[in-house]
Amino acid sequence: MSMTTASGQLDSAATQASQPGGAAGFGRLMAAEWTKLRSVRSTVWTLLLFVIITIGLTALLSWLTVSNWTGPRAAPRDARVAADPIGFIFGAGIGLGQLTICVLGVLLITTEYSTGVIRASLLAVPKRYPMLAAKLVVFGLLMLVLAELVAFGSFFAGSAILHSRVAVSLSGPGVLRATLGAGFYLTVLGILAVAVGAIVRHTAAGISIVIGIVLVLPILAGLLPSSWGAHINAYLPQQAGSLIYAVHQSSGQLLTAWEGFGVFCIWTVLLLAVAAYLLNRRDA
């Protein structure tokens, strides 16, 4: 057994590494969280799926629309696409692609609990706020890069295919903001999903709740009496957040694009605060 040599080698290794300072310490945590993120197949596959579904669906639907343009029964649809091409481009692709982000964000933290690796994580980093912060920063940065790539990828794929029928360009009013905004929306949605995952600590429950927030809450709010239902609806996380990637204001819209995004961010911060409080307080 080579235990003696292993211990001897560490002495030199340990002296090489400096004592952890504030920034250097956080850098270590980020490096560790990046290793955790990239070394699990489910996260890598989910991210790939996100890219393929979002851009692929946008391209597919754009192509179907263009190739069936002016079909006798498709006239109202063609008119809708012509009136709001950005809404068309981002509608279906992000609508479906966002579900993979909901899943990924939840998985990022619930798999730590389901596999028990949370114990190894907390033994290595007993201060729980920094651990959560490092996880969020690493995931947030990765999401921001990927989501912007996907947003611009969807825009260019969709606008290039639609080009023969409808002209859209980034220089159009609100188009650049909407495209950037699509990436921002998906990034914040991912962080919101992490927060929900940290609160419930259970994969199936976490995914159900986040998808409920994104898909079901707006439908339920739509059933409320219109007088005050519209106000509730406007301030729901997904309804408010999705304004950032829309160009056309619907009639009677209560929030502007940035106000809506702000509301979405406030929801996310509130959930994160609950998640951090519970993470610190609960037994792991």
Binding site: A14, S18, P20, R28, T35, K36, S39, T115, R119, P126
Partner: protein, 326 residues
């Protein structure tokens, strides 16, 4: 050194750890013994800061776990519950742990060599056998070359080779001056490994002493007595401050078959004194045998009153204890 001071943990109404105090000294293997459900794992989780205590404190080298700057360089822990992502490779598991401590990635490879997992370093840990998983756990525990080690039931489910490996490893680490606390419900394992024992039951400290002292304190004083007059002898033994319990195993108790005299198990009095008592009262003895002490007996005696599920039920006492201990 590990210092546990008046440590308590409540889960709702249930008290898992009850005002527990003990210290674990460096340079020797300290066995942490108790029946299942006695609170061993909870105590370890409290020491490691995974659970928050309801009262009291636990420190490692004078500091709480959460206050350690690079905890894995001070404390290594092997928990009973799995703590590896089944989809992650052994190397990546050790790599991310090394990164949190500012250790070089090469340290992860050294540890994989040391525990003999080099060939499967890049395989998913979910496919590992129990023994391989335990080796990975040991690699993680020793990653930062810590001075203090906590091992929770490390030999559970291992094959004889694995048991021997863990046993030698613990002795080696203690010989290097490290503090080693190892929990187990297997007495015989502790008898050959531990120099010192901390025995708990129902979350309370029963005894903290050198292993040989625990053995001596236990059934060293147990004497098997066979007599046709168990009632009179029992009275005599009780007036002398001893305890006599009718044995229930085999042909014991009042229902001894084939005309054999009933058997008493006597504690608190040595065999010569029992013989003198019997002679003075003219009680015939058919057998007078001092029982050989084993750690298992000592442990059963120490913990029998604090078993999670007491044996005051209709089922025979021996059977109940066995179920709880296994």
């Amino acid at each position: 050194m590990i210092e546990v001071t008046d440590l308590s943990k409540r889960f709702g109404d249930k008290v898992a750890v009850d005002h527990l105090s003990f210290t674990v000294q460096p340079g020797r293997v300290t066995g942490f013994l108790g029946p299942n459900g006695a609170g061993k794992s909870t105590t370890m989780r409290l020491i490691l800061g995974l659970d928050h205590p309801s009262g009291g404190s636990a420190t490692i080298n004078g500091r709480k776990y959460a206050e350690l700057a690079s905890p894995l360089r001070t404390v290594g822990a092997l928990l009973e519950a799995k703590s590896v992502h089944s989809g992650r490779s052994a190397r990546n598991h050790l790599l991310f742990l090394a990164q949190t401590q500012g250790l070089p990635p090469s340290r992860a490879d050294e540890m994989l060599d040391m525990v003999g997992l080099r060939d499967v370093a890049r395989k998913r840990a979910g496919g590992f056998s129990l023994g391989m998983g335990q080796r990975l756990g040991v690699a993680a525990a020793l990653l930062g070359d810590p001075q203090v080690l906590l091992l929770d039931e490390p030999v559970n489910g291992l094959d004889p080779e694995g048991v021997l490996w863990i046993r030698n490893l613990m002795k080696y680490l203690a010989s290097q001056g490290k503090t080693v606390l190892v929990s187990s419900h297997l007495m015989n394992e502790m008898a050959v490994t531990a120099d010192h024992l901390v025995v708990i039951g129902r979350g309370k400290l029963i005894v903290s002493a050198a292993t040989e002292d625990v053995i001596a304190r236990g059934s060293g004083q147990t004497v098997r007595v066979r007599t046709p007059e168990p009632g009179r002898l029992t009275d005599l033994i009780v007036t002398e401050g001893g305890k006599a319990i009718p044995a229930e195993n085999g042909n014991g108790g009042a229902a001894a078959p084939d005309g054999q005299a009933p058997v008493l198990t006597v504690t608190g009095l040595a065999a010569p004194r029992i013989g003198e008592l019997a002679a003075s009262a003219s009680i015939v003895l058919h057998e007078l045998t001092p029982q050989l002490a084993t750690l298992e007996d000592a442990f059963l005696e120490l913990t029998s009153e604090s078993l999670e599920f007491g044996h005051a039920s209709a089922q025979p006492a021996g059977q109940s204890i066995e179920e709880n201990v296994r």
